[in-house]
């Protein structure tokens, strides 16, 4: 079944995702602040809309992958935003990583006008977006999720309905916390091995066979051992995510002592100018800084 689908946010994640939707035979329209970023998709058959409102008026479902909570709020509720264009029954699926509170707020505004919402952040990074193997965690109404499942099938390999609006973002915050804490633990292990003068690659290889084996040790441990700090995911994005989750923890009165320390290591990494490097460069924060 062909869906008239709109897409906003054609960055490293969004561009391959939009391409998959087009390849799956859906009718794709896009809006972008910089129209030139849409060029490859337009050549492949997508159409361009002048504003988010126009995009929403032409689509059954609009998917967004942007950077920050404020971006999503502007896109949805700002002047010329999606809410002005959607017909009742339209659906906005936001796949960005933003604050659960923003997701709930936007969902409530849409609900007043009979417009559906899903927060559907993803895990799997650029590779997952390219290979259509993303893990999708969805927050919102079950019937809305059922309507967009055919689109998700073109983007990822797992879709889990976590709960109501905002719940997808809660799961994503948990994902980011576990993953970056694990990267920090991995960096500390690699630093300890390095300080002893022991070969990092062999330590990693041995540990992968035992109870410390993990995806993070596999991928990030390998990058650390090879000192390959070219992003993957830029560490400044994890830094941004940590500000969101630590703020949520504060509001809820939940202590996150390990995450709080990881956040400080990320702060130091930003100060070292490592924001555009891979988060594996948390290893560098632990290394002697010289004179």
């Amino acid at each position: 079944m062909t869906v008239r689908v709109g897409f906003v946010g054609l960055g490293v994640m969004g561009r391959p995702m939009a391409g998959h939707l087009l390849a799956a035979g859906h009718e794709l329209a896009v809006w972008a602040r910089r129209p030139e970023s849409a060029a490859p998709l337009l050549e492949a058959g997508a159409s361009f809309c002048a504003t988010p409102a126009e995009l929403a008026s032409r689509c059954e479902v609009v998917i967004s992958v942007v950077t920050a909570s404020a971006d999503v709020e502007n896109l949805a509720l700002g002047a010329g935003g999606l809410i002005e264009g959607f017909a009742p029954g339209g659906i906005h699926v936001d796949m960005s990583t933003i604050a659960p509170g923003t997701a709930r707020k936007v969902a409530a505004s849409y609900a007043e006008r009979g417009i559906g919402w899903l927060d559907a952040p993803v895990s799997g990074g650029e590779i997952g977006a390219r290979d259509a193997t993303l893990a999708i965690m969805a927050g919102g109404e079950a019937d809305v999720l059922e309507r967009v499942r055919p689109l998700f099938a073109a983007l990822g390999k797992t879709v889990v309905h976590i709960g109501p609006a905002g719940a997808g973002q809660v799961a994503k915050a948990c994902n980011q916390m576990i993953m970056v804490n694990a990267i920090q633990a991995c960096a500390e292990a690699m630093r300890l091995a390095g300080a002893h003068g022991v070969d990092l690659a062999r330590v990693r290889e041995a540990l992968m066979g035992g109870s410390a084996g993990s995806r993070v040790l596999d991928v990030m441990g390998d990058r650390m051992a090879r000192r390959d700090f070219v992003a993957g995911i830029q560490s400044r994005l994890h830094h941004k995510d940590f500000a969101i989750l630590m703020e949520e923890a504060r509001q809820l009165g939940a202590p996150l002592p390990v995450a709080a320390q990881t956040w400080q290591q990320l702060n130091a990494l930003m100060a070292m100018g490592g924001g555009r490097d891979d988060t594996a460069s948390l290893l560098k924060v632990l290394e002697p800084t010289g004179e």
């Binding site: 923890a249 009165g253 002592p257 709080a260 320390q261 930003m270 100060a271």
Partner: protein, 290 residues
């Protein structure tokens, strides 16, 4: 010199009263009429809003909860900027983020108002006894003009630097007091769990390099198990949040502050937010087994 005061809560009320005691002509405004009553009885004039206070005064003080409130008082509808005479000095004594103070000061300057950020340390007792420590950021001439007024409210007012510098000093103060309270609570819990009398430990340590005002005052209240505020845990949590947000913005590593902020989260999440910060001792005891 005519003086205005906006925000008459636990801190603002005694501070405004001390300005009256100092012989100044004081005009006040607060959101709730009942907050204004004690000041009016003591001889202050009441105004209809912040703009009206500004119109009647040469120097206007505010003492409110957070940056959003300061923004409203200074630049909102019916705010200070609307009523300000040329050359008005606006002194905000609330604790807010340095970046917020700088932003508000810059926008007020465009409208001819000179702002000082002048947060305080010393709590309710310091406000009542005119014993506050006042940390000031902003223009030096404005600071000199306000100095006699600061003298009515506190025992020391220090110009730290330009706009926002007072809030930076206050954030440093909150790092030291927040981490300090946790350190004393950890030491006392350590002594207790080791079967040693924490009171004697405190007494011995007061004579050495571990001496601090917090060990002396907060330590005594911990021994007395007097958890009445003082300074409420949720307010300390709020102030530590300003510190951690600035650290994030600046790319600044604050591991001890980060740990302390999490203990405040646990304190508030455990329902002890309305107690004094020293209730951290109870939290640590609960987590260490009785």
């Amino acid at each position: 010199m005519k003086v205005g005061f906006i925000g008459l809560g636990i801190m603002g009320r005694p501070m405004a009263l001390n300005l009256l005691k100092g012989g100044y002509d004081v005009t006040v405004w607060a959101r709730r009429a009942e907050s204004m009553a004690p000041l009016l009885e003591a001889g202050a004039k009441g105004a209809a809003n912040s703009a009206a206070v500004a119109a009647a005064c040469d120097v206007v003080f505010s003492m409110v909860a957070d940056a959003a409130d300061v923004e409203q008082v200074a630049l909102g509808v019916g705010g200070v900027a609307e009523g300000a005479k040329a050359g008005l000095i606006y002194v905000d004594m609330s604790t807010i983020a340095p970046a917020a103070a700088q932003s508000i000061a810059a926008r007020l300057a465009e409208r001819g108002v000179t702002m000082l950020d002048a947060p305080v340390s010393g709590g309710e007792v310091g406000a009542i006894n005119a014993g506050l420590t006042i940390m000031v950021g902003g223009d030096e001439a404005a600071f000199e003009t306000a100095k006699p007024l600061f003298a009515c409210m506190g025992k020391a007012a220090t110009l730290i630097g330009g706009p926002g510098a007072g809030q930076v000093a206050k954030a440093c103060n909150q790092i030291l007091t927040g981490v300090g309270v946790m350190a004393v609570a950890e030491a006392f819990n350590f002594a207790r769990k080791s079967g040693v009398d924490a009171g004697r430990v405190r007494e011995a340590l007061l004579g050495g390099f571990a001496y601090s005002r917090i060990l002396e005052n907060h330590g005594q209240r911990m021994l007395d198990r007097n958890f009445k505020p003082g300074f409420k845990a949720w307010m300390h949590q709020k102030d530590m949040n300003i510190v951690m947000q600035e650290a994030h913005r600046l790319g600044l590593m604050l591991p001890s502050s980060a740990a302390t902020a999490q203990l405040f989260n646990a304190l508030v999440g455990s329902g002890m937010g309305e107690e004094d910060s020293i209730a951290a001792l109870k939290l640590l005891e609960n987590l260490s087994g009785e």
